[in-house]
Amino acid sequence: MSVLVRDDGLSGARRRLRPRRTTLAGLALVGVIALAALAAPLLPWDPEAVDLMARLEGPSAAHWLGTDHLGRDLLARLLHGASVSLGAVAVIVALILTLGIGIGGLSGFLGGRTDRIVMRVCDGFLTVPTFVLAMFMVGVLGTGLTNVVLAIALSHWAWYARIVRGMVLSLRERDFVAAAIVSGASRPRVFAEHILPGVLVQLVVLATLDIGHMILHVAGLSFLGLGVMPPTPEWGVMISDAREFIWTQPMLMLWPGLMILLTVMGFNLLGDALRDRLDPMLAGEDH
């Protein structure tokens, strides 16, 4: 008999009870990267200190991972790159959640004409492929990290607004919300106390699953030269800078790529774990 029909009720339940190794790995990865981002400014190395006499050096006691083409400490740049990436993503997520909850929530709660107009606008945003939309937004706003952050937030918010609206619509019909309205609670209060908490949990799970994706978008736009301005260390720019030295110093390119890979992987693992824990409805069978 095929393995496909094996009953896995028991093993599934068992798996859910103790933390999986992948969850721990995700937590560890994100924890380490976050720690690096927080600790980067406290470390003695200056990521922007140019020393032309010590450029393209291999690992040494002074520079643990060596130096880049301007003699800047690679490790310091990688760590500061973590704060740039995580900082950017934190702002993006905050913006998306605010826009998503604000616009989507309002649309779902008010309904009627507002809802129809808002949803058409959302449709418009959802019609354009996200990366193309992000490129367009950078074109409108201009290059630079702030604008890239705005562009990515603006190209993602509509997904969230849609989801929030859907949740609000379904929650609105539930008894406890109707009860609250009947008992005379004001609309904003009903929203804040009864609807928002449920929405927020699901959104945070979704956002965590999306963070990896957003980090890749920030790095991709920066790689194209549309992101941060020098000398700010950012992983995508570091990869772009390192292309010249792909033969002589391939490690210059490998390290920042590896940092992106690990960070994205960490957030993906964490997102999956969060989803399985907090939101059984979304939980997939793929673990």
Partner: protein, 846 residues
């Protein structure tokens, strides 16, 4: 006309080199089959001898020839003119033309042809403002069929030098000259442009009727390779035979590596021009001479030369190298001396506040904008090094990296503190370069604007160009150059050199066979519900126009209300100063003076007629350009989609059928890594492995299947991994459903159960996800194109963003949206086909 300026020095010599080598020079021996493959950062352009960008100088020099020829060291030799006489007052030049010269279309080169070309140049004098000679020419007369007379306003001494320039005084056949430039490139030179493929290559063929020695090659193929790294890889893998030119052709790192490893024959030229920065004397704080001198003392040029320029360019202490005419003046260099720089700043009142790192005066920080071209790796590295040097003496340099056009705009209107700008090299230095210092649209004018003696400098420049007394000329040059040096309005960094790497043709040719990609997998045979299906499709189609309308309004509004006035960008990209009159004229031209709604409607009306306007940069219809590049992008995207599906389906099925065993673990691990890898990084890893190390696959370009392999892998990996994961999960879920159990109970063979009852239903989420992946694949393609030199819309769009070329950006966004929407429509139809609940009457598997 600043467009040609930056790469000028390199291109002059590149042109001379190509002309020489191809006339039977040293490169001939190494290369057997008669084709030389070279590369350039873009296409050579329409090749109008009288115009500038986008015409590439090296190519103009291959097709067109001058009256007289400039040889190294500044001597002039006969070329299309075999002899000339200069009248005693220095104002009249009589030229005797060479016998037996014909244009490549067979028409004769005679005095009438020369006159026709001069007329074409003189009819657009303002275009050639930078070149004093054009302003000096009063008349051009035909004396007889072989003789021509040039009359000048003043006895302008560099006349012959400027006639030798690659542009604008070279000669096209009168038959192709129109009021709006030449119709096709027909010259007297050794080469003819025979084929151009935008974004890919240009081909030159030997001119059979050339009067001079025949070139050693039959053909020259000039491949378009914008990226220096890609160019180096292309040489290494034998895709091109020759790298030649000034800065930026390949990185100094690649060059030194080629030299050390003996990859090809390497050579470096003597100094050709000066790599310098202009320091703005018209703006605080650099309006203070002490600050400018401090900058000169603060920058460690030796370190920059040794480390960033790999010792390939000698250090520059003065604006012009001493080997140019009139420039050997023995000026005292500003030595690297941070202590002295600090002292100068202290004395000027710029002091370090306690605990601060930036000097202050009167509450103002010592801050200056250092402008460079953002995607020029070398300028960026230099800018960062200079920034660090200045920081060490308490000077805060803010780096402003922008697209080339924006940097040129800053050069013209003086919005800079420090800005890169090379001198022009022989034969322009010093006279043309000095002459241009009087033109307000030059960084040099802007840099000198604040000097108290600027009027005096300009008067001396005017005098030096027309004086007929050699000692007076020397004295005037000494005055001008000494003043500029003492006022420290330049920060000379190094003397530019050209480098070459060459090798005989071997291995890779490039048959550019364009092939079709199979479209996405077909749906099965039709069934009885055809009509309902049709209705469904039509219904979905009808939702598209309103959706696209919403998008078009959004795109239009965001662009109009977004950033600044498009008219300013239009003017900047046209090299027109943004005077009020010019802005008003452009407003009218582009319809920007009308109400927004009206503008939108007229735009929409034109868009419905497939007219999306002209690009601000190329002045060609935007849609034509985009459609030109689109097939390459679609090919890559479609191939990636096919690979995504073709690989993810077996992987997902394999994993699901071996749940919790090795294949399952393998696939899940791969999928997990795959969704986390940045695609552009993966692209480089692939190049590193398959092109550089193993030399199995070509690193860039579009051609056969081998060109497609790496870009497709880089684009497809992420979607592929997501799909495999999804299919596995979906199959496991379906396998637990009741209808599958019933099927098994009915005793159906396992294979049929899997195929008919599990796979078919498990595919539904995959189909939905594919709709999403198409967006991702498109986005991935746009990035990956930039790495693999893939001639698609991605590269075009990125440059449009840099240039703020709004019509391109607008059309690009809409075009991508339409493609995305149509793909999603196809996916929906596929879904309806597969899903029993939507699909019309047919046997359902439960």
């Amino acid at each position: 006309m600043a467009l040609w300026r930056k790469r000028l020095a390199g291109t002059v010599t590149a042109a001379l080199f190509l002309a020489a080598a191809m006339a039977g020079g040293q490169a001939a021996a190494a290369s057997p089959p008669g084709t030389l493959t070279y590369s350039w950062s873009g296409n050579v352009g329409p090749l109008d001898p009288h115009r500038y960008s986008p015409n590439q100088m090296f190519a103009q020099a291959m097709v067109y020839e001058p009256l007289v020829h400039y040889r190294e060291g500044g001597t002039i030799e006969p070329w299309l003119a075999t002899a000339w006489t200069i009248s005693p007052d220095g104002r009249t030049y009589d030229f005797t033309l060479r016998e037996g010269v014909v244009f490549s279309d067979g028409t004769p080169f005679d005095a009438a042809a020369v006159k026709a070309n001069f007329d074409a140049v003189l009819s657009e004098r303002s275009r050639h403002d930078w070149l004093e000679l054009i302003g000096q020419i009063q008349s051009v007369e035909v004396l007889d069929s072989r003789r021509i007379r040039l009359s000048l306003k003043d006895p302008y001494y560099p006349t012959l030098l400027e006639l030798a320039l690659i542009r604008p005084v070279r000669f096209a056949a009168p038959s192709v000259i129109t009021a709006d430039g030449v119709r096709s490139p027909v010259g007297t030179g050794p080469w003819m442009l025979t084929e151009t493929k935008k974004g890919e290559y240009d081909i030159f063929t030997r001119n059979p009727s050339y009067w001079g020695p025949k070139p050693a090659y039959e053909r020259i193929v000039v491949k378009v390779i914008p990226d220096p790294t890609a160019r180096a890889v292309a040489f290494e893998t034998g895709e091109i035979d020759l790298i030649y030119g000034g800065t930026g052709q390949i990185s100094a790192d690649s060059f030194t590596r080629f030299k050390a490893r003996g990859t090809g024959r390497t050579a470096v030229s003597a100094p050709l021009a000066t790599r310098t920065m202009a320091i703005n004397s018209g703006r605080a704080p650099t309006s203070d001479v002490a600050v400018r001198r401090a900058i000169n003392h603060a920058v460690n040029k030796d370190a920059i030369v040794a480390k960033l320029l790999y010792g390939l360019e000698p250090r520059a202490d003065t604006l012009f190298a001493a080997n140019f005419p009139y420039t050997d003046l023995g000026l005292a260099p500003y030595a690297f001396d941070p202590a002295r720089a600090a002292r100068l700043l202290d004395e000027a009142g710029w002091t370090l506040p306690a605990g601060g790192t930036v000097r202050m005066r009167d509450g103002q920080p010592l801050r200056v904008e250092l402008c460079f071209i953002g995607n020029d790796a070398r300028e960026k590295a230099l800018a960062e090094a200079i920034q660090a040097n200045l920081k060490a003496v308490g000077f805060d340099a803010v780096l402003v990296g922008e697209e080339e056009n924006a940097v040129q705009a800053r050069q013209k209107d003086g919005r800079f503190g420090l800005i890169f700008g090379d001198t022009w090299g022989a034969p322009y230095d010093p006279h043309s370069f000095v002459s241009s210092m009087r033109v307000p649209a030059h960084a040099d004018y802007q840099a000198q604007r604040g000097l108290p003696m600027k009027a005096e400098i300009d008067a001396k420049i005017g005098a030096v160009l027309v004086t007929r007394d050699e000692t007076a000329r020397q004295a005037l040059y000494r005055d001008i150059l000494t003043t500029l040096h003492e006022q420290a309005v330049y920060l000379p960094l190094s003397y530019l050199t050209a480098m070459s790497v060459s090798r005989g043709v071997e291995g890779v040719g490039f048959g550019a066979s364009v092939y079709e990609i199979r479209s996405a997998p077909c749906v099965r045979h039709r069934d009885a519900g055809e009509r309902r299906m049709l209705r469904f499709i039509v219904g979905r189609l009808l939702t598209l126009p309103p959706l696209l309308l919403v998008v078009s309004v959004g795109v239009f509004l965001l662009l109009r209300l977004g950033r600044g006035d498009p008219a300013l960008d239009y003017l900047r990209l046209s090299n027109i100063p943004p005077t009020d009159a010019a802005v008003a004229a452009v407003h009218q031209l582009l319809g920007l003076d009308r109400p927004l709604a009206e503008q939108y409607l007229s735009w929409l009306w034109q868009a419905l007629h497939l007219d999306f306007g002209l690009s601000y940069v190329t002045r060609r219809p935007v849609l034509d350009d985009l459609l030109y590049y689109l097939p390459a992008t679609l090919q890559l995207g479609a191939a990636a989609l096919v690979v995504t599906l073709a690989v993810s389906l077996p992987l997902g099925i394999w994993a699901a059928r071996h749940r919790d065993r090795l294949p399952d673990h393998l696939v899940r691990a791969l999928a997990f890594a795959g969704v986390s890898i940045p695609n552009f990084w993966l692209g480089f890893l692939l190049v590193l492995l398959f092109s550089v190390t193993l030399n199995w696959l070509p690193p860039l370009g579009r051609g056969g299947w081998s060109h497609l392999a790496m870009p497709v892998a880089a684009v497809a990996l992420m979607s592929l991994c997501i799909n495999a994961r999804l299919l596995r999960a979906s199959m496991l879920e379906t396998a637990g459903q009741r209808h599958v159990l019933y099927a098994r109970l009915r005793g159906l063979p396992e294979r049929r159960v899997v195929q008919n009852h599990i796979l078919r239903n498990a595919l539904l989420p995959i189909v939905t996800a594919t709709g999403m992946h198409i967006g991702e694949l498109l986005g991935g393609t746009l990035v990956i194109e930039n790495i693999f030199g893939w001639p698609g819309v991605g590269r075009y769009a990125v440059s449009a963003i840099y240039n703020r070329d709004y019509p391109v950006l607008q059309c690009f966004t809409l075009l991508m949206t339409v493609i995305f929407v149509l793909c999603n429509l196809a996916v929906d139809v596929l879904y309806a086909w597969l899903d029993p609940r939507i699909r019309p009457a047919r046997e359902v598997g439960r």
